[in-house]
Amino acid sequence: MTGAVKRGAVLSTSGITMIFGGLTALSDVDFEVGRGSITALIGPNGAGKTTFFNCLTGIYRPSRGTMTFSPEEGREIQLRKLAPDRITYLGIARTFQNIRLFNNLTVLENVLIACHSRMRAGILGALLRDGKTVAEEKAMAEFSYRLLDRYGLAASANHLAKNLPYGAQRRLEIVRALATRPRLLLLDEPAAGLNIAETRELDELIRYIRDEEDLSVLLIEHDMSLVMSVSDRVFVLDYGVLIASGPPDEIRRDPKVVKAYLGED
């Protein structure tokens, strides 16, 4: 597990600084996600992890710094000035810490919506319902269903998202993110609220996604057992500053990390 396969980075940031009013939430974060790796971002509450996600996905615009996304070898995109939908289109998908499904829509519709940027139909297509549009609709419905099927949610395809059990909602959020066909998947505390058995499944799920869907994963997580077991590389944030990075075993022993989590003493 040690030493992630160095096939270049799918994402790298340098000097990311985010200032809210007078509060510096992130300062000079240099960060990297290896292509095909599972990278974890950990840190105590309020360390700026979610803020970092929000910068990456265009919800916040960092005060300083550059973010480079490389969907394929040899292709580089600057993310800093892009809108969230554009970033999703380019291939970064995310889940949210407090699940944000489209609650009053069905599970299948949730996934269909995520296919948005891969579909072409516009107003005219919708009104005229020409052959191309119908074919596209059918193809996407089928794609969505199969995706749900693959992740064990097909039986609930016509249920409202809000009626799913909690664990299934978390899973659906991941499936929905996958439907945008990302190159990089950002998971914000995917294990929050899951029990031990579910967390173990999540561990397998994340690996499965990385291997089968051929993408890179970046996750924020508090569950250390999950982080240590699943990730190739771990970054530690504390008060907006990156204090350590390396393979899980190293991080576990790093005195700075221990101090950040346990406090002085």
Partner: protein, 523 residues
């Protein structure tokens, strides 16, 4: 930013910290949870019932007293505008108290019922619709729950009835039906904006006005006819929607509501004050639409009346307008239905549900909002042209805030996002008052009350919108004409079938099915 939402229902006693303890205000709502007093009722017997009834009686009495005090000065001391003195109308007081008493009893009863039904519906929803379809290998997903034959028959019947109306009714009926149909068009248009995309537009009247004035002005100044002006009116309303939408759609919900309201007021004030619209006096003698230049009332009418086909006072121009607006409504229904079930429509729904998540799905927020806003305006413009053609006289007084509220009530009352709901809503709000003329004084009062009551007791509307169910159609051609069964039929077979019995998401290792196309196909 955040709404205070007291999820934990307050203890019944703490609710009334106000002037009169024990629960005046008719309202003093019980916590909308299962009523604690409801449980022992089964075995409590007569004593329990009596105590309960006494408590209700006491609450209603208190509420009646409270409302009597509250209403006393306004109801019993009427300012006499003519004499400049006060009329003392004490006789009103007991009637008011009695009304408050009964209303409180009803209100409390309904709120308790609501508490129960919420629990019940929550249970029902968890059960969810039964997993449909997935019955055989091969085939494709159809995106539409086809209309049942009975529903089709009903639709055909309704269409036939509506088409035949002018031939067996009076001109009066045709006139109010035209009004109702105009409001249905408006309701369906606003439904796109408010019901589907969740953008509260309180200035819808402005777009209606623009449609009407476009026709009126073009007709007056350049003699242009209805048929040319119909698309032009729709177009100008759409353009105005785009123009207004661009700067304001960044605003969040409530701000948007108020800006649209302000915008509508601006439009109205401009129409009142600008010279070329003839100000408050409005524009008269707008030409009715023609049918291939035929003189309907002159040449055709005697023929029809002669054969007893139409009422002798029927204005055939009105009949033509009726058919035109009927066609527009039919077209609108088809359009709205198709839009709702398209890529764009789903983006609207996503926008309504959660703006942040919506963007994270790759949906451009501004463009999507703009599309909803502009398309909604289009129908207001269409309806405006027809409105001008129907009454042949318009002035700014027809396009006040009350019109926007009326259309909004139609959408809310009928059921936001629901096409049949909007139609029922328009029928109820436009036709009922027409037939209950003697109560016309109370019309707006009742409207206001209905809006409040609907929000309290049935926020989803008369006919709530339903999500459509995607069903599996076995043995149909697959996507793109490829042979479907060659693509790992086992996977398809096992997938839905196996999971369907379980009901729960299988907890095991993900991806037991290896075959189906990867989510990453060719981009």
């Amino acid at each position: 930013m955040t709404t205070v939402q007291t999820e934990t229902a307050p203890p019944p006693a703490s609710g009334s910290g106000g002037p009169s303890s024990g629960g005046p205000g008719g309202g003093v709502p019980e916590s909308p949870g299962p009523d604690p007093a409801g449980a022992p009722e089964g075995r409590g017997g007569a004593a329990g019932h009596l105590a309960r009834a006494l408590a209700e009686f006491r609450a209603a009495l208190l509420s009646a007293a409270w409302f009597s005090v509250l209403a006393l000065p306004l109801v019993c001391f009427r300012v006499n505008a003519v004499s400049g003195g006060i009329d003392y109308l004490w006789a009103r007081l007991p009637r008011l108290a009695a009304l408050a008493f009964c209303a409180t009893l009803a209100w409390r009863f309904l709120l308790r019922r609501l508490g129960f039904s919420r629990v019940r519906s929550a249970v029902a929803e968890t059960a969810g619709p039964p997993p449909e379809g997935a019955r055989g290998p091969g085939g494709s997903w159809l995106t539409l729950l086809d209309r049942a034959p009975a529903k089709r028959l009903l639709l055909a019947g309704a269409a036939l009835l509506l088409l035949s109306v002018p031939f067996w009714t009076t001109p009066y009926v045709v006139t109010i039906l035209i009004t109702a149909l105009i409001y249905i068009t408006l309701g369906l248009g606003l439904n796109i904006v408010v019901g589907v995309a969740g953008l509260l537009n309180l200035g819808y009247a402005a777009f209606f006005a623009v449609g009407a004035y476009t026709f009126a002005l073009l007709n007056q100044n350049f003699g242009m006819g209805f048929w040319i002006c119909l698309p032009l009116g729709a177009l100008s309303a759409t353009l105005l929607g785009l123009l207004l939408g661009l700067p304001i759609l960044r605003l969040s919900g409530d701000y948007l509501a108020i800006v649209t309201l302000g915008f509508a007021e601006i439009i109205r004030l401009v129409l009142v004050n600008v010279g070329f619209t003839n100000g408050p006096r409005g524009i008269r003698n707008i030409q009715p639409p023609t049918l291939f230049g035929a003189d309907l009332n002159g040449a055709v009418k005697p023929l029809l009346v002669g054969h007893g086909l139409v009422h002798k006072d029927m204005d055939l121009n009105k009949v033509l307008v009726y058919f035109i607006i009927l066609a527009i409504v039919a077209l609108t229904v088809v359009c709205v239905y198709r839009l709702e079930n398209s890529r764009l429509g789903r983006a609207w729904l996503a926008l309504r549900e959660d703006e942040v998540a919506c963007q994270a799905m790759g949906i451009n927020r501004v463009r999507t909002k703009l599309a909803a806003f502009a398309l909604g305006s289009t129908w207001a413009g269409l309806a405006g042209v027809v409105f001008a053609a129907q009454i042949s006289f318009i002035n700014p007084q027809s396009f006040t805030f009350m019109l926007s509220v009326m259309v909004l009530s139609i959408v809310v009352l009928g059921g936001m996002g629901s096409i049949p709901g909007v139609m029922i809503g328009a029928a109820v709000l436009i036709l009922l008052p027409e037939y209950l003329r003697e109560y016309s004084d109370y019309r707006m009062l009742i409207f206001g009350l209905i809006m409040v009551l609907m929000m309290v007791f049935r926020p989803q509307g008369i006919i709530p919108s339903t999500r459509r169910v995607y069903i599996y159609r076995p043995e149909e051609h697959g996507d793109g004409g490829a042979r479907p069964s060659t693509r790992n039929p086992d996977a398809l077979d096992a997938g839905p079938g196996g999971a369907g019995q379980d009901g729960q998401a299988p907890a095991g290792v993900p991806g037991t099915a290896g075959g189906p196309p990867s989510p990453r196909g060719a981009r």
